[in-house]
Amino acid sequence: MAKEITGTTWTVYDSDTLTQAEIYGRVLCDLGDRYPEIVGLSADLANSTKIGNFGKKFPDRFFNVGIAEQNLFGIAAGLAKSGMLPFVSTMAAFATMRAGEQVRTDICYQNLDVKIIATHGGVSFGPAGSTHHCTEDIAITRAFPNMTVIVPADGVETANAVKACIDRGGPVYIRIGRGFEPPYYRDENYGFEIGKAVEIAPGTDLTIIACGITVREAAEAARILKETDGLSVRVLNMHTIKPLDEAAVLKAVEETRRIITFEDHNVLGGLGSAVADVIAASGKGCAFEKVGIPDCFAIVGYPEDLYSYYSLDANAITDKVREVMGRDFEEDEDWEDEV
């Protein structure tokens, strides 16, 4: 049973009714009491991203710069240089592409303590179309030196990530959805640590490595596969894409020999590519599949329909696991002939 967290303006019970962004807004308000150096910034998306909650509570420490994302991140860099601790929120597409150079050059190059909580990641703003989707941000941000990249599974994990990012020096990019994503966690005390994957289901036949909204779907798939197929599917919540928990990936290679990555992001450059790098460098044979947005501008539709269309739900990943399990694949213990 979920435990009520005391001393905060939200509880895990709220995670059923609050979006990731709403929980973020509340957590940031709590942090604002404890850390007077925190300042909040947005670019006319204070309400959509919920950083506006912080603005209402601390109007003197909040800057809504209008629709000007380059200026947004430039000002954040200057504030960080002056000794403040900026939290910046806008949509993922604008944070990483419209202002991508400011994030890279002003913030990452100078290794500044700027925390970016980007909303509307992936296709979570489905009806808005590709101008407001963002299936490139993980690829972009993980190529910026000094950047930490986190994709929380749900609102509870968003709370953990936002709290943890304060103690992590340098720039942090936390990517969340538009809202209405169902929660996975019922309790925030599951050992969240930046850079450490969480094994949410044990397994020996195959590993699904997921981040963001796919974590819950992967967990559901593992449950179904155990019941109906007798398969033992390990599920890793790889909330931190950078630095990647390479040890958890290598352990999965050794112990399950089959890996599927699962993300609401282009299959190029995201979690799948990060995991593939580790597998390739290990020199060890492993059946491998990347499930994500197949290098296209996504169609329009409600998020749940898009997740289904792009195989990002429990049903689709269940079928994918069966397909990968059916592959003819040499699975002896002799790694040498495969290196």
């Binding site: 420490r61 380059q70 002056s82 002003d106």
Partner: protein, 277 residues
């Protein structure tokens, strides 16, 4: 305090020394953005030798004034000034642009003492300067931020995003200079992408504007004093300058935006500087 005649004399000597250091550094570097470095020498000289509250022996001193040279390609016009203030030894400048040097043509704030902000990609500096100025206000600190923009740089839309916000937030602990040398890489600013009526643009964005001769220490001093004592609006000082100022064969020559010299040419350039009034 306006500059006295005696101070002007001393500043002129300092400016000559800085120009010659810029020439030497350009020679050592194998090439540098010398034209735009020479055009802002008087702005840099008066800031570093009259106005800035800094402690070169404590480069990270929290209460220092901040300088954001948004036209970051003019790094060859910054590093010699910092060396002259004692942030590092002048002979370090001989490594400029060389393998593993801490000095690249665009200076890195994490590597070069005295550089408050890394710049180089144009149109970024004023936003960061606004952030610094807001940070000082939030922390109730008296330090000031000084930002130097290039004129060609003002083609960048982000400069005007920043200007809009400086005015909206009524930022008066920031003084912006524009080094209006009228040339950019490909030619004259007004031929490539005109920015006139330039002063009117700043006024329309809510700035108090002063247009001066950017090589005249008395005019610079009066403008800075005025900006420091005024509290109604952010200030921009448009400094009309000459690209390549002080070296006869470089003045107003587009090709000296970025150039290389051999030692004969460098000697000729330094002789020019010495012979100037």
């Amino acid at each position: 305090m306006p500059v006295s005649e005696d101070e002007v004399k001393k500043l002129k000597v300092k400016a000559k020394e800085i120009r010659k250091d810029i020439i030497d550094t350009t020679l050592a570097a194998g090439g540098a953005h010398i034209g735009g470095a020479l055009s802002m020498v008087e702005i840099m000289t008066i800031l570093y030798h009259k106005y800035l509250n800094i402690r070169p022996d404590q480069p990270d001193w929290k209460d220092r004034d901040r300088v954001v040279v948004s036209k970051g390609h003019a790094g060859v016009g910054i590093a010699p000034v910092l060396a002259g203030k004692g942030y590092f030894k002048k002979d370090a400048l001989s490594t400029f642009n060389q393998f593993q040097s801490k000095f690249g043509m665009h200076l890195d704030s994490l590597k070069v003492d005295g550089v408050d902000v890394s710049t180089g990609s144009l149109g970024h500096g004023l936003s960061m300067a606004v952030g610094l100025a807001l940070g000082a206000s939030l922390q109730k600190k008296p330090w000031k931020t000084y930002c130097i923009l290039g004129d060609g740089e003002c083609n960048e839309g982000s400069v005007w995003e920043a200007a809009m916000s400086a005015s909206h937030y009524k930022i008066t602990n920031l003084i912006t200079f524009v080094d209006r040398n009228r040339l950019m890489i490909d030619g004259a600013t007004e031929e490539i992408m005109g920015i006139e009526p330039f002063a009117d643009k700043w006024r329309a964005f809510g700035f108090a504007v002063r247009e001066i001769d950017g090589h005249d220490f008395t005019q610079l001093s009066r403008a800075i004093d005025k900006a420091l004592e005024t509290t109604g609006a952010p200030w921009v000082i448009i400094c009309n300058t000459v690209k390549g100022k002080g070296v006869s064969f470089m003045e107003n020559e587009v090709k000296w935006h970025y150039g290389s010299m051999n030692s004969t040419l460098a000697d000729q350039a330094k002789a020019d500087v010495d012979n100037a009034i």
